[in-house]
């Protein structure tokens, strides 16, 4: 008995130590975002200059970039979630000539380094006069994402056949079966895909950098390109305000993760992604 409690204590000690390591950089980010301008990095709270957060939104065109981020997310995220679900369902439950080959295409898109197609895609959008518009995100949204098509497919394959057959006897069309039966029971997966898509989209720096110009940059791209300098000349970046802006950028990611955490865990368990 004594040995068991000893190893338990050790386990908690290890977990607490690791938690400390993983949280430490975040803690540093928070306390430095509250420190006075141009101070060297600090490991202990020295001041609580909440106005740094005000300056983060004031020294650059913060709210415009934030609005751009939001526009891109609203265009892209719901469309991708829906479109991927539709394709995932088709690949899981319907057989058709060519469906196997097409599914291989989905899998290979997952392996394809995105950067290989980016320049030619740029040329394509350029030819259609769509550079510096949000239309590319509309197009990508309609296309869905290979990874999430795969995830939906894995999930829909686990749904018992009887459920589908009962509905078919009642004369439901295939679309109705998808919409009324499959989609409602896949809510954890829908939530997971929505949140993970939002994260990828919100954090994307390079896509907007290539296809948009500065006035339309989302926050993530803007923060990698625009430095926080004090008003009136001085050319030195204010680390404290930059950090505050970074944490503001991370805030929606954290909030959506906490809201959807339960679903994400469940969604990943039920889809049972494996090789």
């Amino acid at each position: 008995m004594k040995r068991i409690s000893l190893s338990r204590t050790l386990l908690y000690a290890v977990l607490l130590f690791l938690s400390f390591i993983f949280l430490f950089p975040l803690y540093l980010a928070v306390i430095n975002s509250l420190a006075p301008w141009f101070n060297p990095p600090t490991a202990v709270p020295t001041a609580f200059k909440w106005e740094n957060y005000y300056w983060a939104t004031e020294l650059i065109d913060f709210w415009r970039y934030a609005r751009n981020s939001l526009i891109i997310a609203i265009i892209y995220v719901p469309l991708t979630t829906l479109s991927s679900g539709l394709s995932g369902f088709a690949f899981a439950r319907l057989r058709a000539p060519g469906s196997k080959v097409l599914f291989l295409c989905v899998l290979s898109t997952m392996m394809l380094p995105g950067i290989v197609t980016q320049i030619p895609t740029y040329i394509l959008f350029f030819r259609f006069n769509l550079i510096n518009t949000y239309i590319p995100w509309l197009v990508w949204g309609i296309g869905g994402s290979a990874f999430y098509i795969f995830m939906y497919r894995q999930f829909f394959r686990t749904v018992p056949l009887e459920l589908e057959e009962a509905a078919r006897i009642d004369g439901c069309s295939i679309f109705r079966i998808y919409w009324n039966i499959f989609l409602p029971i896949s809510l954890p997966v829908v939530a997971t895909v929505t949140i993970l898509t939002f994260h990828g989209n919100w954090n994307d720096i390079m896509g907007p950098f290539m296809y948009l110009r500065e006035a339309r940059y989302p926050l993530s791209t803007a923060l990698s390109m625009v430095g926080y300098k004090p008003p009136g000349g001085d050319n030195q970046t204010i680390m404290q305000v930059t950090m505050a802006a970074g944490l503001l950028l991370a805030l929606p990611i954290m909030v959506t993760f906490f809201i959807g955490q339960k679903y994400i865990v469940e969604g990943i368990v039920t889809t049972g992604i494996k090789g």
């Binding site: 386990l11 290890v14 977990l15 690791l18 938690s19 993983f22 950089p25 540093l28 980010a29 430095n32 060297p40 990095p41 479109s83 539709l86 394709s87 088709a90 319907l94 057989r95 058709a96 295409c105 392996m111 394809l112 380094p113 950067i115 290989v116 197609t117 980016q118 320049i119 030619p120 040329i123 394509l124 197009v139 990508w140 309609i142 296309g143 869905g144 295939i174 919100w202 954090n203 720096i205 390079m206 993530s220 990698s224 430095g227 680390m239 950090m243 970074g246 950028l249 991370a250 990611i253 954290m254 993760f257 955490q261 865990v265 990943i268 368990v269 049972g272 992604i273 494996k274 090789g275």
Partner: protein
Amino acid sequence: MKQIKPTTRRSIAFYLMIAPWLLVFLSFSLFPLVYGFYLSFTNYFGFNLEDLSLVGLKNYQNVFSDKDAMGALGRTFLFAVINVPLGTVIALSLALLLNHNIRGRGVFRTIFYIPSIMPAIVTTMMWKNILFTGNGGILDRIIGVFGLGPVNWLGYDYALFSLILMSSWGAGGGILIYLAGLKGVPDELYESAAIDGASYMQRLFRITLPLLTPVIFFNVLMGIIGTLQQYLQPILLAGDQLLARPIKPIYLYVVHAFQQIFANQRFAYGMALLWVLFIITLLLTLVVFKTSRLWVFYEDGGD
């Protein structure tokens, strides 16, 4: 009206449902892929789309005689060889720790996972400006306690190490998938092992890890592909804008391609660089798949 056969109806439904994906896949994945391959055989430099001429294999010959490209490729392999196993071990160990019946499991899981979803710009911001900083940076102060340093974290000797350190902090992203995989290990196996008096280590290496190999396989494969393409973090560590040129030790292969395209306007050459990487990725994937028969355990005997 003629009755449509159910199989035909299902085929039509199938193609209707995948139509959005298929159309975008054909025009914005497959076509750019082929078009990019074509461009890699031309003299495209950004403004001569109407007036391209074919240059044969010249761009590809240049890739292999470009010392910067080959150096970057070797460095990228080194980075992958360290980063992928390290990331796998970290994520797997964390998942194994959390797989015990403990209090506050959800909280620990969140703590380990959060760094992996931090925006790349925020992660590099805090490591670069607070931890890696030379003048009173936090890491210097920590190792100072042990009488070491100070170290030039982003200088020639330590930049790659620092990049790996920063990546490892985000390695917890894999724990959710590993935890899901661990849930799938049947309890009966552990029970019968307990009756046989197997130790924790024996159970780990004889039951848990073998049953987890498909999940590990998936993560390792995605890790390799992701790591070979890594370019954002080195660029963000290097300077405060996206065309900043990282120093040699973290000048990775795609960083080089990125530089050629965006800084030097060598588009066709950049495409050749990326196609070489694409083919290497394909070959590696193939090797990983072929060898997976040797180390991946499929319950149903492989399918």
